[in-house]
């Protein structure tokens, strides 16, 4: 058993390194066109968002529709910092960006804590609606604030995290994925999953439900905030309307498609769903239609007998190998 977990670690390291090398070769060798180059950061952002949402929705088992709210808090906090400190050269760019990341994440985490109150009282769809409401309140407040420049938004945000800095983005993404993966394999992670599976039983073995529910929200909010900071410094422009419930739903789609509670699934789905609309560009006005059809088809396939059959073959093969 110990051996397999070691092998797993090495395998993960190999995959991460390979991914990094691949991206580097593609970029440095100019093998990737601009369209796909500009997708590198959004993919990383979506992976971070999906993995963090998975913590709440997949592992804690609470449906939330306000993840984009945390993202926007991170994005605006980070952007304001680098606009006020980085651009005016109060701080050198790397320091400003690091500060932006940290503050963006922390500010989002603070809001994650605030939403902890309803989380403790509400269940299922009621919680979903309250998180949706929460996201919309954030949007609405940002839209009417002076410092965020209202509906006109913030522009000319320094592009600290665009594709030229992909190493930093890649590092942050890996950090997020590893942190969440590790967390789920630890005692806190087990407590979170236990609450999902049976909260009454979890309490009966001494797990404080309130503590872990809030904790999951805070951690998820933190990473969503960091993802927001990266988003802001990639696009260079922020508008409150970008972070509405449609954005939250977009992230949720990734999580569910990838499989609730599957981090690898979230990563794969984030890549597919970020690239798919771009692949469909050639189809012109049929694009959204095809996107919808593909999405429905993927969901159905994901839960179909065909896939079960495929998976079964794999399990069989695995079993065979074990015996051999």
């Amino acid at each position: 058993m110990k051996k397999t977990s070691n092998r797993q670690v090495w395998f993960n390291i190999a995959v991460i390194a390979a991914a990094y090398v691949l991206v580097t070769i593609l970029l440095k060798g100019n093998l990737l066109n601009r369209q796909y180059t500009s997708l590198l950061v959004p993919i990383a952002v979506n992976i971070m968002l999906a993995v963090s949402l998975n913590l709440v929705t997949g592992f804690l088992g609470e449906l939330t529709l306000g993840h984009a709210g945390f993202m926007s808090i991170g994005a605006y906090t980070g952007a304001l910092i680098s606009l006020n400190l980085g651009k005016t050269e109060v701080l050198p760019a790397p320091a400003a960006f690091a500060l932006a990341l940290l503050c963006g994440g922390l500010m989002a985490a603070v809001f994650g804590f605030l939403i902890g109150v309803p989380v403790l009282r509400l269940r299922g769809d009621y919680l979903a609606i309250v998180t949706l409401a929460f996201g919309e309140i954030i949007k609405s407040v940002i839209n009417s604030m002076e410092i965020t420049n209202g509906a006109r938004g913030l522009s000319k945000i320094p592009l600290y995290s665009n594709y030229t800095n992909y190493t930093v983005v890649f590092f942050l993404m890996v950090l997020t994925v590893l942190a969440v993966t590790n967390l789920m394999k630890s005692r806190d992670g087990r407590a979170i999953m236990a609450i999902r599976d049976n909260d009454i039983a979890a309490e009966s073995i001494g797990i404080k439900i309130s503590h872990f529910k809030v904790k999951a929200f805070v951690i998820a909010a933190f990473f969503a905030g960091v993802a927001g900071v990266i988003y802001a410094h990639n696009v260079g422009l922020l508008k409150p309307g970008t972070f509405d419930y449609n954005k939250s739903i977009e992230i949720l789609v990734i999580v569910v498609l990838g499989g609730m509670g599957s981090i690898r699934g979230s990563i794969i789905a984030a890549i597919i769903l970020t690239v798919l609309p771009e692949l469909l560009r050639g189809t012109d006005n049929l694009r959204m239609l095809l996107y919808a059809i593909v999405l429905i088809a993927m969901m159905i396939f994901n839960n179909s007998k065909i896939k079960e059959g495929l998976m079964m073959n794999r399990t069989f093969r695995k079993l065979g190998r074990k015996e051999a």
Binding site: E308, M312, T315, F316
Partner: protein
């Protein structure tokens, strides 16, 4: 006449084969017991018979009709009722609503009223609690409700999955009496029980299931005296 005839039935959960090609028959008016250890496949067998899960292969006949591929709800209206494992009462419905739900396939209003009275007579506790939400009943009360609910459909045959589970000794005897009662009034019974002794004592015929296979079968009274059965299931 054999009213339920199961031939070579296999059932899979994914790659796991839970029932491995069993055959058995239930004749009109009989009580047939199906006994076996935990995980032997008893529940799976019952679920397959009443159409809740599909058989991988083999056939199931009810009154001569092949019901292997018939959906569960149609099987119920053919006169085969099921008291499921774990009771599965409708938790947010009242006791009375649960019972009425049992008579869903019936159209005779007066008949339904009469059945309801009979059931209240058998389980006075249910009448006391008729407007309580079923989910808040105690375990044993729920078991009574599940039984009453199945009887409300006035079935020709009823399959029961561990009806005595969670019942107090008094009620265990009561339940077995009720089963005999039902049987005497013309309902055929297929009974899965952990309480093998009681089950065998009221049954005509019995099958012993082990890891998905029928390993023994025969007259219930004879099986009661079978050494291996004694050792494995009756442990005096």
């Amino acid at each position: 006449m054999s009213i339920l005839k199961v031939t070579d039935m296999t059932v899979n959960y994914g790659v796991i084969q839970a029932v491995k090609g069993i055959s058995f028959e239930v004749e009109q008016g009989e009580i047939v017991a199906l006994i076996g250890a935990n995980g032997a496949g008893k529940t799976t067998t019952l679920h397959t018979v009443t159409g809740m899960i599909p058989a991988k292969s083999g056939s199931i006949q009810f009154y001569g009709t092949d019901i292997t591929k018939v959906p569960a709800h149609r099987i119920v209206s053919m006169g085969l009722a099921h008291v499921p494992e774990g009771r599965r009462v409708f938790a947010q419905l009242t006791v009375l609503e649960n019972l009425k739900m049992g008579a869903y396939t019936r159209k005779d209003k007066d008949g339904i009223e009469k059945s309801l009275e009979e059931i209240y007579k058998r389980f006075p506790r249910l009448e006391e609690r008729k407007s309580q939400l079923a989910g808040t009943l105690s375990g044993g009360e729920q078991q009574m409700l599940a039984m009453g609910r199945a009887l409300m459909s006035k079935p020709k045959m009823i399959v029961m999955d561990e009806p005595s589970m969670g019942l107090s000794p008094l009620y265990v005897s009561e339940i077995f009496k009720i089963i005999q009662d039902i049987n005497e009034s013309g309902t055929t019974v297929l009974l899965v029980e952990q309480n093998a002794k009681k089950a065998l004592s009221i049954a005509n015929k019995a099958y012993v299931l082990e890891t998905g296979n029928i390993v023994l079968s025969g007259d219930a009274k004879e099986l009661m005296n079978d050494d291996s059965v004694k050792k494995a299931y009756l442990s005096e």
